[in-house]
Symmetry: D2
């Protein structure tokens, strides 16, 4: 996988983000900040933002942060804890910070906060550096 | 929250599923099976299905299973492990099985397999039963 | 790392198990069952078994299962969900089942049940196959 | 459960820590720091500290932090990611920081570092506030 491919991957992630109304706020090696406003079509039965959108927001910040080195990586796994509800019109901010990166694996934490700085969700992602088609097959998705 | 609301919630989940081309295959108290075919727009840089779609698929099966009792529940948190890549045209099957349900919390496991029965991803969801608006606020999303 | 080392590792795990009063009930490629009785010194303030012992029990079953192939593996990470309390005198049974094993990673689920078959805890472990000293250093513990 | 019980719980945790050679370095509402030196009997086949000890260390910091308010809490679940190996003689430092605490649940992150400030493991714990015997039974362990 070339640097070009890595850039293309990050770009694809960014486009998916745009599709959901996400905004890339900043990125630097190992970090990324992505914003998203909660729209009416993102609400579910309880009148709060569906968890799937929170996951997608955090996942995008994670993908951008772990692909910020011009080395292609894939996600091995992720977890999310929903802390407080996000509501219609809330402006959410997902900030991803790299906790570790050594050998072929990395660990990344994402905090989603609303416009008042209240914590909405915590996300943890584990990345795996791919070296080429064979190894990409050896592992997994995203 | 009334039974009607609970039904509406499950229905909303099902609709989101339809939007992503998901198919509700079966549901029963504590379980649900949801199908999805991998479309070209679900692929990412590596030519494999974006992890976000796998999460959404598993999350839908989870939401249907934990809301199958006419009691409204919310997700407290989820985790996913990506095991093998899903490819264009693959027909994925997400089966959610309840592992526990007592007091106000429940634990659910989802397996995503492809048309050959190969394991694609493992998902774990933790649910929390809501009793009304106050308690809904006390907890969280989805 | 030789087969001998792998055996020694599994043996060390088994010894740690014995130290905590654990009993290896059965093992086969990809699976293991370990038993433990809840002793007075395992209780904490609430009169229930300390979660640390439940983790150690599940972790032992996981270590034995993922090292059952004569290939040395290490744990990349684990998670545990406490479902119901274990009490003084309970006889716990931890059964580990392999969910996936391909390339260098594996996923294992452990269920801890009491003597009545009630679910006490759910554990998930992720393993990584080590190939030698350099790669062992590249990854991690346990 | 009284404040006295809550204190007794934290004290019991601290005692378990002492049994494994852990040292309580500091504690304040929502946080705790615990130290531990890696002894020969904590090593496993690979010559590195067994993951179970790292879990116990992080778990102790978590228990102290989430019980620092004179309200008894139990763990609902935990996860740990092993980042780098800890070796014989290493002096480990586990610092727990509260990420959220609202309603009855809390989220806590623990970082384990060695004497050079290198990250060894990341731990996440989810707590649940207990209100008395009935609710304690409704939930779970630790």
């Amino acid at each position: 996988m070339t640097n070009h491919d890595a850039m293309r991957l990050a770009s694809a992630c960014a486009q998916a983000s745009l599709g959901m109304g996400m905004r890339l706020l900043s990125t630097a090696p190992g970090t990324a900040r992505v914003g998203m406003s909660v729209r009416a079509d993102m609400l579910q039965g309880h009148g709060t933002c569906h968890g799937g959108y929170l996951f997608a927001l955090a996942d995008s910040a994670f993908a951008l942060a772990c692909n910020s080195y011009n080395e292609a990586t894939v996600a091995m796994g992720c977890s999310i804890d929903y802390v407080a509800p996000a509501r219609l019109g809330d402006t959410l901010n997902a900030e991803c910070i790299e906790q570790s990166r050594s050998g072929r694996t990395g660990n990344y934490d994402v905090r989603i906060e609303n416009q008042q700085g209240e914590l909405i969700a915590l996300f943890h992602g584990k990345s795996y550096k791919v070296r080429g088609p064979v190894l990409a097959q050896e592992t997994s998705n995203e």
